[in-house]
């Protein structure tokens, strides 16, 4: 049995497999498949200062080896999360990450302040949601705005702070550097890639929001490339995600530069995927005589 535990910005995870934000709700549903303590952690559904109803349906379309989604951050608001969901989550014996999004920098700061007074383990700054009109990705696409929001939230946040990056940018490495320089404790990446599908019969986009975010196996090579580029540019740890489907993908993402992983879309075809991936990683380490999963991180030997 290899040691699967990892530390990200001082926070411990029993294994590197974390449920990806937005695919796992606040954990209650998947807890009816397996106890959540089998996961290294959970990144909760993105929350906002006030309740949001999200976009009108359809909110999803299938694509080759992936999906497009435009949920639009439907959530009950940070206060309800703190009262109704967080206490339950904290009893499940896993590491809990709150994923936050706002319309303004001030909203992000207020949420970070509220959550700093709770026993949530980490805060993930979602500045990369492509599916809302204001907030989300507008903060995540220039070095200046990423630097600004990171430093503002950092001043008012007492928890380890993860900044979640959008892949819809020209130079992801410099954006990551800007987050690091302004106080981010870790980077998570990638959020979804903006995409579109059209019904050729009706000539209507399948998603009511017209465009949506692409995730699933289709984005995996893009995610690996970006994690690798960012790992060459920053010293803070990276939580890698985007299309991880098998334990082999998980190993590849760690080797590219990730210290921990989030798993999302694959859960929709196999709810047990996170458990299978953790087991597969363990077997891989055992077979290769590797004692700790941390020994994989950033061991790629580039040409």
């Amino acid at each position: 049995m290899a040691d699967l535990s990892v530390k990200v910005a001082g926070v411990s995870f029993d294994n590197p497999i974390i449920a990806a934000s937005g695919t796992f709700g606040f954990g209650r549903e998947y807890n009816e498949f397996y106890p959540l303590e089998k996961l290294g952690g959970i990144s909760c559904k993105g929350i906002t200062l006030k309740r949001r109803d999200g976009n009108p349906p359809p909110r999803i379309a299938e694509t080759p080896s992936g999906i497009l989604n435009a949920v639009g951050l439907q959530n009950p608001g940070v206060d309800v999360f703190i009262i109704d969901d967080l206490p339950w989550l904290k009893r499940q014996n896993t590491t809990v990450i709150a994923n936050i999004a706002g319309n303004t920098v001030e909203e992000y700061c207020q949420m970070a302040e509220k959550l700093s007074e709770t026993d949530v383990d980490m805060i993930e700054l979602n500045i990369s949601c492509p599916n809302v009109k204001s907030g989300g990705v507008q903060f995540g696409t220039s070095c200046e705005s990423v630097g600004n929001i990171t430093s503002e939230v950092r001043r008012r946040c007492k928890k380890p702070l993860i900044v979640k990056l959008s892949p819809n940018v020209t130079d992801i490495a410099s954006i990551a550097q800007s987050a690091e320089a302004n106080g981010a404790d870790a980077i998570s990446m990638i959020n979804t890639l903006t995409g579109m599908r059209i019904d050729i019969g009706t000539r209507r986009p399948i998603i009511r929001n017209n465009t949506g975010g692409l995730s699933g196996a289709a984005v995996f090579p893009v995610a690996v490339r970006m994690v690798w580029q960012v790992s060459n540019a920053v010293k803070i740890p990276i939580i890698g995600m985007g299309g991880i489907t098998t334990w082999e993908d998980a190993a590849e993402m760690l080797i590219a530069g990730a210290s921990a992983l989030q798993i999302g879309t694959v859960m929709f075809s196999d709810p047990y995927a996170p458990i299978k991936i953790a087991e597969g990683l363990n077997d891989f380490l055992d077979k290769n005589g590797i004692k700790s999963v941390t020994e994989l991180t950033k061991t790629v030997i580039p040409w």
Binding site: G22, T23, F24, G25, E29, Y30, E32, F33, Y34, K45, D53, G54, N55, P56, P57, P58, R59, I60, A61, E62, T63, S65, G66, I67, N69, V71, Q74, G216, A217, T265, M267, F268, S269, D270, P271, Y272
Partner: protein, 250 residues
Amino acid sequence: MKYDVRQLRLISNDRIADGIFDMRLEYGQDDLPVSCGQFAHVYVPGKTLRRPISVCDCSNGELRLVYQVKGEGTRIMSRMQPGGLADVLVPLGNGFDVQKGKKYCLIGGGIGVPPMLFTAKQCDSPLVITGFRDSSLVILQDDFKSAGAETALVTDNGTAGKKGFVTDVLRERIGEIDEVCACGPTPMLKAVADICREYGKPCQISLEERMACGIGACLVCAVKVRKNGEELMQHVCKNGPVFNAEEVVF
């Protein structure tokens, strides 16, 4: 643990009408705790998303799913061979709430007909009204009769049963009915709900929305409902697929 992915052996997968297939799966000795109107989330090899299909029947160790080939996913399903295993997440959702002693009218339109069979089996001699585009799509009429239901069949062009719509029959018969349950295309559901409101009859409808997780975690299958005067988003997979028609904001 409330949920489990089951590997069920395929007993048969026969074409029963134009583009419509009847998949029978063996669930073995233990009872499958399915109630009428619930659905199964079927894994399709090579696809990222499972396909939601209503439970058509569940008895004698057999789970029955009747589905229409629409796109690639259901086409792959229609090629699955007897003897093989199907990976199915079942039962999911909240089904129809039916009680003995009431006179039910069950309405199915097109591929909304299958879930009404298992529902008919839970009711005392219900009236089942089914509507199809034409005779090539008519399904399950004998099954409804063996379930003790009175059947009324309509088609848009009169090639089977009476020419007309399910709502024509509903209007004629609504006086003798206590409650309506319906599944089918949205315009039909809306028309049925309007008639029920006009006559003050309770009405439950089964909705469709594109899904991913099937259990209420990913929030993609949203439907707008009105509860206590307030509009909010609920989810077809978890709060439904069956809703009180009065609460749905069409």
